[in-house]
């Protein structure tokens, strides 16, 4: 028995968006931008967000126009079953690749920084088992769980900001364009699919109390995430200088490692790990669920929770193929993002065109 149907509202959506996009401020994504953009890593995401804004708004417009659909249903409705399946599978595949590479990075991060003597696979199995177990409980639980743990994560973020601020030197942000304005622009555009979750989240368009909740949530959460990411990246620049920042893979942890709080609390980095690890868990729980949801929607599988286990483990096995973390981050992730990006920039316009054509045919 349930007293309220579809109980999730705006606040849960904000938390979900924040978790899945905003916390890219704390993983290895900044290192991805730092390679070429140098101390302008904070400009990279701004460019990416601006580039993604147009396709995203188009998608939101379409979803609002055809009230009853989620992302995949909308695709099927607009461009037919065959083309829809192909596009849906492409979206799924790119999301899946991003999931695999991101997950490998996070697991390597945990492994390298906190459990250096353990084999990666041991950590990986623990990590993904917990993700699958929780994701199995369904969307409403995930939403509520995210909201319930948000205070811990927000507190951690605020603490990190305050603590890092003490060691940050504002002037290090200059020269303002780092590796050069053209480089930053290119980096921002080609890697804009680092934030492709924005365009995958509409799969949950119908899963909230009202679609309005989803829209409000994704806008608020998106803006918050953008602020968070940009401020974190800027902070990293201000803490390390441009030459050092290229060498560091785990900027979040490293930045908390070099600060001290008086001389009693000298090693405080593990304290910030708590919120970070919670958010990493949540992020992949949500991500894994969304990927399975998309797959389930394409092939009209109602109880797609059963897919979590196979998809999760295939993703784990795939992501363990690159021989090392550096290869995974700098080669696999970078290339895959550059390949994926055009798809995400184009497909909403494709749908828009189809909708336009459909409308004209009708009248």
């Amino acid at each position: 028995m349930e007293l309220t149907k579809k109980p999730l509202r705006t606040r849960e959506m904000v938390a979900i968006v924040f978790m899945i996009v905003g916390l890219k401020g704390g993983d290895t994504t900044p290192a991805l931008f730092a390679e070429h953009a140098q101390n302008a890593i904070w400009l990279g995401p701004i460019v990416s967000f601006l580039v993604l804004l147009a396709p995203f708004l188009v998608l939101m417009y379409l979803l609002k126009k055809y009230k009853r659909f989620n992302l995949i249903e909308l695709t099927f409705h607009l461009i037919g079953n065959k083309a829809g399946t192909i596009l849906g599978l492409l979206l799924f595949a790119s999301g899946f690749v991003a999931l695999s590479t991101d997950m490998r990075n996070v697991v390597e991060e945990i492994n390298y920084l906190y459990f250096p003597n353990s084999p990666t696979i041991a950590i990986y199995i623990i990590f993904i088992s917990i993700c699958i177990l929780i994701a199995n409980k369904g969307w409403e639980t995930i939403g509520s769980l995210t909201w319930a743990l948000l205070p811990v994560i927000v507190l951690t973020i605020l603490a990190v900001l305050i603590v890092d601020m003490r060691d940050a030197v504002g002037y290090r942000i200059f020269p303002i364009f780092g590796g050069g304005a053209d480089v930053v622009l290119k980096e921002g555009i080609s890697k804009s699919s680092a934030f492709l979750e924005f365009l995958l989240l509409p799969i949950a368009y119908q899963a909230f109390h009202q679609p309005k909740n989803f829209r409000l949530g994704i806008y608020t959460g998106g803006i918050l995430s953008c602020i968070l990411i940009v401020s974190f990246y800027a902070l990293y620049t201000m803490m390390f200088d441009y030459n050092t920042i290229n060498n560091i893979a785990f900027l979040y942890q490293e930045s908390t490692e070099i600060v001290t709080l008086g001389h009693f609390f000298t090693n405080i980095s593990t304290f910030f790990m708590i919120g970070w690890l919670f958010s990493s868990f949540l992020r992949f729980i949500i991500y894994l669920y969304i990927i399975c949801w998309i797959f389930g929607a394409i092939f009209e599988i109602k109880r797609f929770e059963g897919l979590l286990l196979p998809i999760g483990f295939i993703s784990m096995m795939l992501s363990l193929i690159p021989p090392s973390f550096a290869v995974n981050e700098l080669i696999v992730r970078e290339t895959s993002l550059q390949i994926i990006t055009p798809l995400f920039l184009i497909f909403p316009f494709l749908l828009w065109g189809a909708a336009f054509w459909k409308d004209r045919k009708k009248t």
Partner: protein, 492 residues
């Protein structure tokens, strides 16, 4: 249904439908046989010869008020001169005519006096029961400094009267549902007609009606028969002994369940926050109440996580600790023969033993527990280098904190969860501990109690008082808990 059960029910029905005959002797003989008159020493069968006829009284001498019996039943029967119906002769407040033996037996079982008159194919039941129960006493388990002191007692009428006193309104419904067969006991639902959500009410009634067990004597047993997840760590009903607390819930749209023989009541549906709240939080002023909530929240976190974090940090993340603390712990562990996880488990189990023994021990022996606990397990274990002093502090802290829980129902949840977290922490440090916490929280937010999400109103959120970790100023609490979907949301 099995054939023997069918026979049994048929026999019972036949007996119950037996008519009362005009012949007094027949009636008496039948009931005396049924009630083993002579064997049952407290079953009385008395005849009264008044001026207007021959009467016969049947009752349990132990369950009726003998003073009322002599003053209001026997005396009037002896004194009345005119032949008027019995229910006009007697001056007891409740007297009802009965037609068949089933009703007569029911009345006798409930402690009434059954009166027959020669030549009348009808009996009368006079309700002058006087079951013995405790007086209304102070609440023992949910103590408050500020606020009413009385608690429920093991008597249904007394408990209902306490509800009526707190909510004097025609909308307060006290509804009985019978449960069980040998004998059927009434379960009383108390709710406000104009607030309660009918869906929830119907659900609870249905659950009670579906119970097929022979008998249920009190709410403690009832709770386990109607809850949704009997093996879960989390209770789905609140168990309270305070009438003020119960009526606060009822006037918010919750449903209270009481039974005779229970000095407490159940509140359903419930959210996890209610276990965390004490009725005193409403009686204290805003700042004081929230301060006490804050302390309690800290206590909850300590009792759940402090031992587990100690295991995780010392075993896997020693770089987290400031060097002075690190050296202090390392030096105190220099001579301890056990790994940290075992050390903690040993002391936690010892503490649980003290607690369990403390509850069961006869009160004259009570002080020994203190001596044994404090001396043997604290001092001596440290001096014998069996555990390090820091572990004693940590276990004592987590044990003490678990007593700050506002409600006993959640106490066990915290204690057992703590062991799960310690085990998780020893597997893979903070990674597995945080994973376990995540699973635990995911479970909490996923369950529901009678259709109400366990974590409401924090998430999923609805219009409500938002009384979670902290409460608002009472004047600002405009809405009733919306997650119950009451008929009237607005408090004003």
């Amino acid at each position: 249904m099995f054939p023997w059960q069918k026979q049994k029910t048929e026999a019972i029905e036949k007996r119950e439908n037996r008519k009362i005959s005009k012949n007094l002797k027949d009636n008496i003989a039948y009931l005396e046989e049924q009630y083993s008159y002579g064997l049952n020493y407290d079953f009385e069968s008395k005849s009264v010869h008044g001026p207007t006829g021959k009467y016969h009284l049947l009752f349990y001498s132990t369950t009726v008020n003998t003073q009322q019996l002599s003053n209001h039943i026997v005396s009037p029967l002896l004194e009345v001169k005119k032949d008027i119906p019995i229910n006009q002769i007697l001056s007891v407040p409740s007297i009802t005519p009965i037609k068949n033996m089933g009703e007569a037996e029911k009345g006798l079982n409930e402690g009434s006096v059954i009166i027959f008159k020669e030549g009348l194919a009808e009996g009368f039941e006079a309700k002058i029961q006087d079951f013995k129960h405790r007086a209304v006493e102070k609440a023992e388990n949910e103590k408050t400094v500020k606020g009413p002191k009385e608690s429920f007692t093991e008597s249904l009428p007394t408990n209902v009267s306490m509800f009526r006193k707190k909510i004097p309104s025609k909308d307060l419904i006290v509804e009985n549902i019978n449960v069980g067969m040998r004998p059927a006991m009434p379960v009383t639902l108390i709710y406000e007609r104009d607030l309660v959500n009918d869906e929830v009410l119907e659900n609870i009634k249905q659950r009670i009606k579906n119970i097929t067990v022979d008998n249920i004597r009190n709410v403690e047993i009832l709770e386990q028969f109607i809850e949704e997840r009997p093996s879960s760590l989390f209770p789905s009903m609140l168990y309270t002994e305070r009438p003020d607390n119960a009526s606060n819930f009822v006037s918010d749209g919750y449903i209270a369940i009481i039974m005779d023989n229970s000095s407490s009541c159940l509140i359903a549906p419930i959210t996890i926050w209610s276990f965390f709240h004490s009725p005193e939080d409403r009686y204290l002023r805003w700042a004081f109440a929230n301060f006490s909530r804050l302390i309690r929240a800290i206590a909850y976190f300590i009792t759940l996580f402090v031992s587990a974090s100690y295991v995780a940090v010392t075993n896997y993340h020693s770089q987290l600790m400031p060097i002075d603390l690190l050296l202090a712990i390392a030096s105190s562990r220099e001579r301890v023969p056990l790994p940290i996880a075992f050390e903690i488990l040993l002391m936690e189990v010892a503490f649980e033993l003290i607690r369990e023994a403390g509850v069961r021990i006869p009160s004259p022996l009570g002080p020994t527990i203190g001596i044994v606990g404090a001396l043997i397990l604290g001092q001596a274990a440290v001096e014998a280098n069996l555990v390090s002093p820091i572990v004693v502090i940590i276990v004592a802290l987590s044990g003490l904190s678990s007593f700050a829980a506002a409600n006993y129902s959640i106490n066990h949840t915290l204690r057992i969860s703590r062991f799960l977290f310690i085990a998780a922490a020893s597997v893979y440090g903070l990674l597995s501990l945080l994973g376990a916490i995540l699973l635990w929280v995911a479970y909490v937010v996923s369950i529901s109690s009678f259709g109400v999400s366990y974590f409401s109103p924090a998430t999923p959120s609805t219009k409500s008082t938002h009384d979670t970790f902290f409460r608002k100023i009472l004047k600002n609490e405009r809405w009733r808990p919306g997650f119950l979907n009451p008929k009237d949301w607005d408090k004003y």
